[in-house]
């Protein structure tokens, strides 16, 4: 589905992504782990068109998508969420979702004046769809709240909800669980699995919670210092010496040890 070939992203002399090559299979929920600063978010930013790569290529279904804008990638069904959730703060949660689908009638000035009926009908359909998504994510009660006022965890759900407003092919989730409580994390996990099974979404998930990764993801890719360190099933990865070392060096000792000895 997605193939990354020898990707480099340098910030000045610093090599945030330093020759990463990896593949995300169609239909998989691929985990991407690695210590902080490993270059995971930067890799997402390059794949999703937010940053241009220094060198290397990104392919989607065999087609070179390197350097396309986020907007163009959106139209190809490639969506992403942010490590720190983003939202349109001045709008309600429902309106946030309704903004997502492209090519809405109301986006042109012509239609704004001359096709009010068509716009209204489409808006009603979108509102209904948004409400279904909110129900799926168990946050229906937030529909009319200002998006700037909901909690960080709820914003993460809203980000996931955004990907459900269109038919996505592949979704990149950056630290879905950051700042999210256990119950909410389970909700997110369930939603990911259901989207994967029912709507055929392929996922690539960055997450630090090893239980979460172990339960959802196969395969798991490990990054450290801008390179891909290892790749394999979750269980396999947690026993991998190099991986444990990468984490030990970064002080995530306890979590990894527990995982490794379990």
């Amino acid at each position: 589905m997605i193939v990354v070939e020898d990707l480099h992203k340098h910030f000045g002399g610093f090599h945030a992504v330093d020759g990463a090559s990896l593949e995300i299979r169609k239909g998989s929920i691929t985990g991407l782990i690695g210590p902080n600063g490993a270059g995971k978010t930067t890799l997402f930013n390059v794949i999703a068109g937010r940053l241009p790569p220094t060198s290397g290529r990104v392919l989607m279904d065999g087609e070179d998508i390197t350097g396309l804008t986020p907007h163009e990638l959106f139209h190809k069904g490639l969506l992403r969420t942010f490590q720190i959730a983003h939202e349109f703060g001045s709008m309600t949660v429902r309106e946030n979702l309704m903004m997502v689908p492209a090519q809405q009638h109301g986006e042109t000035l012509w239609n704004t004046w001359f096709r009010r009926g068509a716009i209204a009908a489409q808006e009603r359909a979108l509102a209904k769809k948004a409400d279904e998504v909110l129900e799926f994510l168990t946050i229906s009660h937030l529909a009319n709240q200002k998006a700037s006022q909901i909690s960080g965890g709820q914003k993460k759900l809203l980000e996931l909800g955004r990907t459900m407003m269109v038919e996505a092919k592949i979704v990149f989730l950056d630290e879905v669980g950051a700042g999210v409580n256990r119950t909410l994390l389970n909700t997110i996990g369930d939603a990911i699995v259901r989207l994967n099974k029912e709507r055929g979404y392929t996922f690539c998930v960055i997450e630090h919670d090893m239980d979460f990764i172990g339960r959802l993801c196969d395969p798991v890719i490990v990054m450290a210092e801008g390179k891909v360190l290892a790749q394999g099933s979750a269980a396999h990865i947690m026993e991998n010496e190099a991986v444990i070392e990468a984490y030990l060096g970064r002080g995530l000792k306890n979590k990894t040890k527990a995982g490794a000895t379990a």
């Binding site: 907007h71 983003h86 939202e87 349109f88 001045s90 709008m91 903004m99 689908p101 809405q104 109301g106």
Partner: protein
Amino acid sequence: MVDFLNAIVALLNYVIVPATSYGAQLALGALGVTLIYGILRFSNFAHGDTMAFGTAITILVTWLFQSWGIGFGPLPTALLALPFGIAVTALLLLGTDRVVYRFYRRQKAAPVILVIVSMGVMFIMNGLVRFVIGVQEQNFADGARFVITATQFRNLTGLDAGLAVRTSTVITVVTAVIVVAALFWFLNKTRSGKSMRAFSDNEDLALLSGINPERVVMITWLLVAALATTAGVLYGLDKSFKPFTYYQLLLPIFASAVVGGLGNPVGAILGGFVVAFSEVTFTYAWKKVLTYLLPTSLAPDSLVQLLSTDYKFAVSFAILVVVLLFKPTGLLKGKSV
């Protein structure tokens, strides 16, 4: 008691009415600046000259109408010509975006680079305006000059102080209210307006949804053309048109946008009035009002003018500096400058 009424009338006549009118003009100008800042993320130094260009075109069309004998009754013919001025300005802005700004947008140029680019555009528009209409002062207001003159007011009320209400003042305020209401309706209620707000709220996220950035940019320039031309024409009707004066308006307009919070439309309006009232208050000679209020023995001999009108831009500048020092995001929360 009568003196108190006289003082109020004098205050209205010399301070409140002119400042309201000027404030509305600044607010419309600042709205354009703030929209560009919110969506395109740079301070557009060419805004004063955009206003001048729109006004110059409107004046040319006004003259054309006048030569055809078309008028607008008691209202100035320029109001009939305004839509044409807006349309031509829109074309100019869209053209500028196409050949200049889009290139830098694609490069993801830093805001400070865009600011410098806009200064280049400013110089070109500056020349263009002078080329089109010349450097001299133009008075293009026709129709009735006053809704009520000072003499009529005195005869009507029997007061000593007079209150003159000029047609241009009423037109300014009424037009500004209509334009602002339409703008807010557009931003809040229409899908196109919501796309703009989304872009202003969070550009990264807007780019990641189906919102077409180029369309949002286009709509922004169209709104800016309408706001800038309207602001320029209202200012010109009220005072007069001179390219250099419009270029100088940049300072109070930026002060207004910054005081209110750059990127915040409500702030731009508030800022416009704050700047206008400060400017008029500081440069008005208070002697007349005070003479009515104080007993004869205390009546001031001097003009009681805090600043000569030559220094009116110093007021905007001072406001700008104070706000940037103490509240960089403006009175209402804008994006940080």
